[in-house]
Amino acid sequence: MADHHKETFITKYIFSQDHKMIAKQFLITGMFMALVGMLMSAIFRVQLANPGESSILYSLLPGSWVNEAGALNPDKYLALVTMHGTILVFWVLTAGLSGTFANFLIPLQIGARDMASGFLNMISYWLFFIATVILIASIYVQGGPASSGWTIYPPLSALPQAIPGSGTGMTLWLLSITIFVAGSLIGGLNYIVTVLNLRTKGMSMRRMPLTVWALLVTAILGVLSFPVLLSCGLLLLFDRSFGTSFYLSDIIVNGEMLHNIGGSPILFEHLFWFLGHPEVYIILLPALGIVSEVISVNSRKPIFGYTAMVGAILVIAFLSFIVWGHHMFMTGMNPFLGSVFTFTTLLIAIPSAVKVFNWLATLWRANIRFTPAMLFAIGTVSAFITGGLTGLILGDSALDINVHDTYFVVGHFHIVMGLSAIYGMYAGVYHWFPKMYGKMMNKNLGYLHFWGTFICAYGVFFPMHFLGLAGLPRRYYTNSAFPMFDGLTDINSIITFFALAGAVIQAIFIFNFIYSIFKGTKASQNPWKANTLEWTTPVERIHGNWPGELPVVERWAYDYSKPGQEKDYALQTEPMQKGEEEH
């Protein structure tokens, strides 16, 4: 029975408890932050291509960030890369990806009216919103925002004397992240409990779409790993503001001898990366779940190896808790410990490889329909192959000696996160836009957007592997201080060119998105002829999702082109025929 309470503008669009609206709130906020983060990267890429010169793009920055000659200040370069990383990792790829799709898809795909607690769900968005406001505000404080890298290692992040951004900016960063994590946790709790309890009749775990599996496991990962970031941050807060020595010891900074004794920055790194590594899988798994869905629907074939895919998600999630040390190979840790982490890290390649092979097998003898979503899903697979393979180099401790903290790492994580995960997010938006807004996005603009992005993105990030193998460190304001890097200037210029072109091309997507919400052609109920339950809800979207009774599930989600079927798809609600076998 659908809810009958009266909706005002406020309860419908602002303080909504409807999971579909909350999903869109996450999406819009995530998209806005993506633009901010992308703009920041355009700005610092300009600095890298034309070091020490002025640029019109710098006029977007607070005035104090450039010197008299109009060049970007070195510490503000670091502020930009820090905020870029923070915004993209947390705001866009965690909240923007999980927040949007977990909220939107989970109740719809499991056949529930809404999340277990609409109220908590609403709180989770508004905490996210408040965290966003605080983070943006931190850009404008006097010392500038946090500038010690998104990884905020102390002592640099603990001492304003070491870099201005570690003053108020860093305090606001910590406050913002704490609120962000609280919101994320509250959201995650909801997702888990909803999947475990509110599946409709017939929706066993084994009939759930892979997207739901991925989002469930992601939420569990978050619930178990984000709190450790809070403990890590709490101890940092005490060191910064109350003079404790958890992470600080033996420090003379700016001529001042500090009283701290006994602390260890390496302790911070352990705590941070205990979240930090699961975090990247929190980012990746939902994207991979979306991709499995989009590929299957648009190949008109079941996803190959459903059980193996579920298994792979679970194994990846489990292993993600025991690989964090591969971010710390160069800290002077006991070499044996380093060996353990190399071993576990290379293990994680196995379920990842299984996923790639399963996608390839899905594409084999398929009948591919190239929607923009499908193109992005294929892009994800390509990027996951490329980026995943370079992970084998980085995960090997001996090889990491020469590529750690160089552009090789930057290339690797951008290809797996910036390409794979972002493409997954785009695929999700293009694919579920008709369900979110009842309209279709323009197909040709989508094609243009994809190819432009695909070309530019590889143009930006693939060359970085060469920069890294040439020894160029990351987070360098310029490489012109070292003659050994003089030969790399051309590569830097090429990267910046593709970065700026790629940034401009995203305007096509923004335009398409906004235009289509208002003027897009009206969508039909099931434009992609997909099997999953969300496509059985009315186009106009109602509170409570289904106007009458909740759907009853009779089969798994992947009966596409099944022999003996008239159509090349079968909704999950369609009863099995006599003698028909389930997968």
Partner: protein, 181 residues
């Protein structure tokens, strides 16, 4: 919208798992830091023994309250008693901190040591989570006084007592940890 009691209880359990991980992070940091030396050894103040006893008794009272409501007897007095014991626990914790400072063990500053800092941070973090428990107990006391609970429906009391027992178990873990590790 169909929210089952089971789902709400699961929300609480998942939340408790998160809180547990938070304290796991802090206690593992403790272990790593201790292994590096320069670690002051000191006795746990007596007040923490008293507070441990207090919180155990308070849980027993709350357990008893649940027994009562299942027999449809209004347990308001017991819930209120638990709340008061919770206040006493808080007071004992503060007394414990006072003892520490009088012995020269501080959270921070020139004379402080990581061992002391960790103890303060752990107990303070626990206390802050306990504050939420106190609010829940107060709320449940009031609900109970107003007669909102019966033998069939006492979700609020269930949630409050689950969380309160969790806080008690968490404190026992922290106490044993601080005493023996």
């Amino acid at each position: 919208m169909n929210i089952t009691n089971k789902a709400i209880k699961q929300l609480l359990w998942a939340g408790q798992a998160s809180i547990g991980m938070f304290f796991a992070g802090l206690t593992s940091a403790y272990i790593v830091r201790k292994a590096e030396g320069n670690w002051l050894e000191f006795a746990i103040p007596d007040w923490f023994y008293y507070s441990t006893a207090t919180i155990i008794v308070s849980s027993a009272l709350l357990f008893y309250a649940k027994r009562k409501i299942k027999q449809n007897i209004n347990p308001a007095n017991f819930i209120l008693a638990t709340f008061l014991l919770g206040i006493i626990f808080t007071v004992f914790q503060i007394f414990g901190w006072n003892t520490l400072t009088s012995q020269g063990i501080f959270l921070t500053g020139e004379g402080s040591n990581a061992a002391g800092s960790f103890l303060y941070v752990l107990t303070l973090a626990h206390l802050i989570h306990l504050l939420a428990g106190l609010i829940a107990l107060l709320y449940s006391s009031i609900s109970s006084v107003k007669g909102k609970y019966n033998s069939e429906n006492h979700l609020g009391l269930d949630l409050t007592s689950t969380y309160w027992h969790f806080l008690g178990l968490l404190w026992i873990y922290l106490f044993i940890f601080l005493k023996y590790v």
